[in-house]
C-alpha cells in the first residue's frame, strides 16, 4: 500500500496555466497521476493539454470529484490558495511553492487545524509526494522511483530535502528495493506535514517494512521524530541529517535550515536519532547503505 495518495487520488492543479504548473502537471499526468482539473479565475473554461480549467477549486471539485490539490501559485498568492483548496473540499493539499513568508505559513497551518481538521497540507517549499507506480504529485522525477512489490520488503521515505530525496529513491532503485511512498515535507519553518505524521502513517502501512528519513539542520523536528520512533515505532529506520558542518546563524538555502542560539545542530539531531535506535549515516550514501542492509537482513 501507499500513504496519503494512490492510484485513486484525483488532483486539481492550482496554477496549471502557469509555466511551472503546466510543465509539472503535464509530467505528473504522463506518469499516470489522475490530473483532473486546473484552476485560474481568469481562464475558466479553457483547456491545458486537454485538462479542464475552472475558476475555483470548489468548481473543480464539483465537476470532477477531485480530492487533492497541488499548488504552483507564486508565493504572494499561496495563503489564499491554501484556504481556497480547503474550502473547495479537497482533503490533501500539496504546496510546491518556495519563498512563502513564515507568518503566512504559521497562519494557515493553524487555520487549517482549527477550521479544516480533516485536511492535510504538505509543504510549502517541498518537492511533493510520489507513491511509485500509482501517483506522483509535484516535481519528483517518476522514473527514478521503483514501485513497491507486494510480498517483498519495501521502504517508505520522508525528507526535508528535494535532491537528497531523489538520490535516496535512485539508490534504492539501483539496489532493487521498492518504495511505497516518498514524502518530501519541505525545508520551511512551518511544514504542514511533519516527520511524525509520515512515520505514523508508514508504521501503520502493512506494505512498508522500513523507513528512510532525511533531515537537516534547524528546528527540532528530527528530535521530535526520534522521540516518536523510540516510543511508538516497531519498524526499522535509517537516517541522514544534512548540515553537520553548517555555520551557526546562516540560512543554508532552505528558510528553515538554520542553527540559531546553539539549537538545531545536525550533531544533536543525529544523537537523538541514534538514541532512539535509528541507524544514522554520516553522509547520504552511508545512510542508503544502512537502509539496504536493513532490508537485506530481513
Amino acid at each position: 500500500m501507499s500513504i496519503f495518495v494512490d492510484e485513486h487520488t484525483k488532483v486539481v492543479y492550482q496554477g496549471l496555466t502557469g509555466s511551472q504548473g503546466k510543465y509539472y502537471g503535464g509530467l505528473n499526468r504522463a506518469y499516470g497521476t489522475q490530473v483532473v482539473a486546473g484552476t485560474n479565475p481568469k481562464k475558466a473554461g479553457s483547456l491545458v493539454d486537454g485538462v479542464q480549467v475552472f475558476a475555483t477549486v470548489t468548481d473543480a471539485v464539483n465537476a470532477t470529484g477531485a480530492d487533492a490539490s497541488c499548488i504552483f501559485i507564486p508565493a504572494p498568492g499561496v495563503r489564499d490558495a491554501v484556504i481556497e483548496a480547503a474550502e473547495g473540499g479537497v482533503s490533501f493539499i500539496v504546496c510546491i511553492t518556495e519563498g512563502v513568508p513564515a507568518h503566512d505559513e504559521a497562519w494557515f497551518y493553524n487555520k487549517l487545524k482549527r477550521d479544516f481538521p480533516g485536511v492535510r497540507l504538505l509543504g510549502p517549499n517541498c518537492p511533493g509526494i510520489i507513491s511509485p507506480g500509482k501517483c506522483n504529485i509535484g516535481i519528483t522525477a517518476g522514473h527514478i522511483a521503483k514501485s513497491a512489490v507486494p510480498g517483498e520488503h519495501n521502504v517508505g521515505i520522508v525528507s526535508r530535502s528535494g535532491t537528497l530525496t531523489y538520490q535516496a529513491l535512485y539508490e534504492l532503485q539501483q539496489q532493487g528495493i521498492g518504495v511505497t511512498t516518498c514524502v518530501g515535507i519541505g525545508g520551511d519553518p512551518v511544514p504542514g506535514t511533519s516527520f511524525i505524521d509520515c512515520l505514523e502513517a508508514f508504521e501503520a502501512d502493512p506494505e512498508t517494512h522500513a523507513v528512510m528519513m532525511i533531515g537537516e539542520i534547524g528546528g527540532s523536528a528530527e528530535e521530535e521524530a526520534a522521540e516518536f520512533i523510540r516510543t511508538r515505532m516497531q519498524k526499522p529506520v535509517a537516517a541522514y541529517v544534512a548540515g553537520q558542518t553548517a555555520p551557526a546563524g546562516k540560512k543554508m538555502g532552505h528558510a528553515g535550515a538554520i542553527v540559531s542560539g546553539g539549537k538545531g545542530t545536525a550533531v544533536a539531531k543525529m544523537e537523538a536519532l541514534r538514541d532512539a535506535g535509528v541507524r544514522v549515516g554520516a553522509n547520504p550514501t552511508e545512510a542508503g547503505e544502512l537502509m539496504v542492509e536493513i532490508i537485506k537482513d530481513r
Partner: protein, 379 residues
C-alpha cells in the same frame, strides 16, 4: 535579514513604541551635530549586527560635545568581532530604574508565535534561560487569534514586573506584536526594555530580523542597501544564487540545498573544508554555472572546485552541456571535480569526456569526488 539597532528603532517608531530620540550618523562631526540637536547627555552606540557591543567599548555615555567627539572618534572604525563600525547611533541618555526583556519569535515546534518577557533584562536572555528559567514568562500565540489585551495583561502579571511598569508594558507588547506580524519579522527583541524613575516604559534597544521571503510586500530596499555582506556574498546576491561564504579551500556547487549541505559534510569527512555553500537550483542554464563558477573562482581561498549534481527531471546531459558552455565562456583558475549522478548520468559524462584533463575531472561518487577535490586543494 538583520536590521541595525537604529533601523529597528525607526520600525518601532512607526508602531508608536516609545524609543529615545536619536540620529544615525557616519562621521565624527555628524555625531557632535546630532548630539547638539538630540540634547545632552547622549549615548554613542556602535551600529553592528553582533552581540557584545558594550563590553567591546562600542557604547559610551557623553555629557558634552567634547566627550561625544572623543567617543565617536574611538567607535567609528572600531572592529567588533570582525564587524567594522561605520554608523553610530546618537540618542538621548535615559534614566533607568529597571531593566526588562521582551521578544516575539516563531516557535517552530509549537507552530505558534512565542512571546517572552522577563524582569531580568539587560543581560543575554540565553543566560537567564539557563540560570533562572522561571524568570521568563512565556506566552504562545495562535496567529489566527493574535495577541489580545487580556492575554497580554495576564502575561505581564506572570512576569512580575514592577507594578508601575505593568500598563506601559502591556501597551508596548501589543504594539510590538503588531510590528512583529505586520512587519513580517523572524524576531523582534527589546533588551533592555526599561522603566524610568518617572514611571515610563520604553525600548532602549531594538533587535529585529526580517523574513526575506516576505520582501514582496514591503519596501525593504533601504535595509537591503545596508546589509553586511562580504564581496563574495554581495556578488552571489546580485546573481540571485543561494550562497553562504565559509573559510575553507574547496569551492562547492550543488543542485539543491540539501545536497549542497551534504557536500560540505562529505568534504569535511575526508579531511577538507568548504569555501562556501552554493545551491545552483534546478535546471541547467549555462548562465547560472557561469555566475556560480566566477564567484567561486574569484574567492582567493579557493584551491579547487567540487560540482555535485544529481539529475532528477533536469537530465545529466543538460547539466553537462550547461557546464561545458559555461567553461567556454570563462577561464577558471582552480581545478574542477564533477560528480554527476542520477537521470542520464552516463549521457552527461559522455559529453564531459572530451573536456577532461588536469583542470576538469570526474569522479563516480560523492566521496570519491570529495577526496579528489580535497587532494587538489591541499597540493
Amino acid at each position: 535579514m538583520d536590521l541595525f539597532e537604529y533601523q529597528g528603532k525607526q520600525l518601532f517608531g512607526r508602531y508608536d513604541i516609545p524609543v529615545s530620540p536619536g540620529e544615525a550618523v557616519t562621521t565624527v562631526d555628524g555625531a557632535v551635530e546630532a548630539a547638539e540637536r538630540v540634547g545632552f547627555p547622549v549615548v554613542v552606540k556602535a551600529q553592528v549586527q553582533v552581540g557584545g557591543r558594550g563590553k567591546a567599548g562600542g557604547i559610551k555615555l557623553a555629557a558634552n560635545a567634547e566627550e561625544c567627539r572623543t567617543h565617536a572618534t574611538a567607535i567609528l572604525g572600531m572592529d567588533i568581532k570582525g564587524h567594522v563600525v561605520e554608523i553610530v547611533w546618537i540618542e538621548r541618555a535615559s534614566n533607568i530604574a529597571e531593566e526588562y526583556y521582551a521578544s516575539f519569535t516563531l516557535d517552530r515546534s509549537a507552530k505558534r508565535h512565542l512571546g517572552m518577557l522577563s524582569a531580568q533584562g539587560g543581560v543575554e536572555i540565553e543566560t537567564v534561560a539557563s540560570d533562572s528559567p522561571d524568570a521568563i514568562a512565556k506566552v504562545w500565540i495562535d496567529p489566527v487569534d493574535g495577541l489580545t489585551e487580556d492575554v497580554a495583561r495576564e502575561w505581564v502579571a506572570a512576569a512580575r514586573l514592577d507594578p508601575a511598569a505593568e500598563d506601559g508594558a502591556v501597551d508596548i507588547l501589543l504594539k510590538l506584536y503588531r510590528a512583529y506580524v505586520d512587519g513580517d519579522c523572524d524576531l523582534v527583541e527589546i533588551n533592555p526594555l526599561i522603566l524610568t524613575p518617572d514611571g515610563k516604559v520604553h525600548a532602549l534597544d531594538a533587535k529585529v530580523s526580517l523574513d526575506n521571503n516576505a520582501g514582496f510586500r514591503h519596501e525593504w530596499q533601504e535595509y537591503e542597501a545596508t546589509q553586511e555582506r562580504d564581496d563574495r556574498e554581495q556578488a552571489a546576491h546580485e546573481a540571485d544564487l543561494q550562497y553562504v561564504g565559509l573559510d575553507g579551500s574547496v569551492g562547492i556547487i550543488a543542485n539543491g540545498a540539501g545536497l549542497a549541505m551534504s557536500t560540505l559534510d562529505v568534504v569535511n569527512q575526508v579531511g577538507g573544508s568548504a569555501a562556501n555553500f552554493l545551491d545552483v537550483g534546478g535546471g541547467a542554464d549555462a548562465t547560472k554555472f557561469v555566475n556560480a563558477l566566477s564567484i567561486i573562482d574569484h574567492d582567493p581561498r579557493v584551491r579547487s572546485i567540487f560540482i555535485n549534481i544529481f539529475g532528477g527531471i533536469t537530465r545529466g546531459e543538460e547539466v553537462a552541456n550547461g557546464i561545458v558552455a559555461a567553461l567556454g565562456q570563462i577561464d577558471i583558475k582552480s581545478p574542477i571535480v564533477i560528480r554527476l549522478d542520477g537521470t542520464n548520468a552516463d549521457e552527461g559524462l559522455a559529453i564531459l569526456e572530451p573536456h577532461l584533463g588536469d583542470q576538469l575531472q570526474v569522479a563516480p561518487t560523492m566521496l570519491d569526488a570529495a577526496r579528489k577535490a580535497v587532494g587538489l586543494a591541499n597540493r
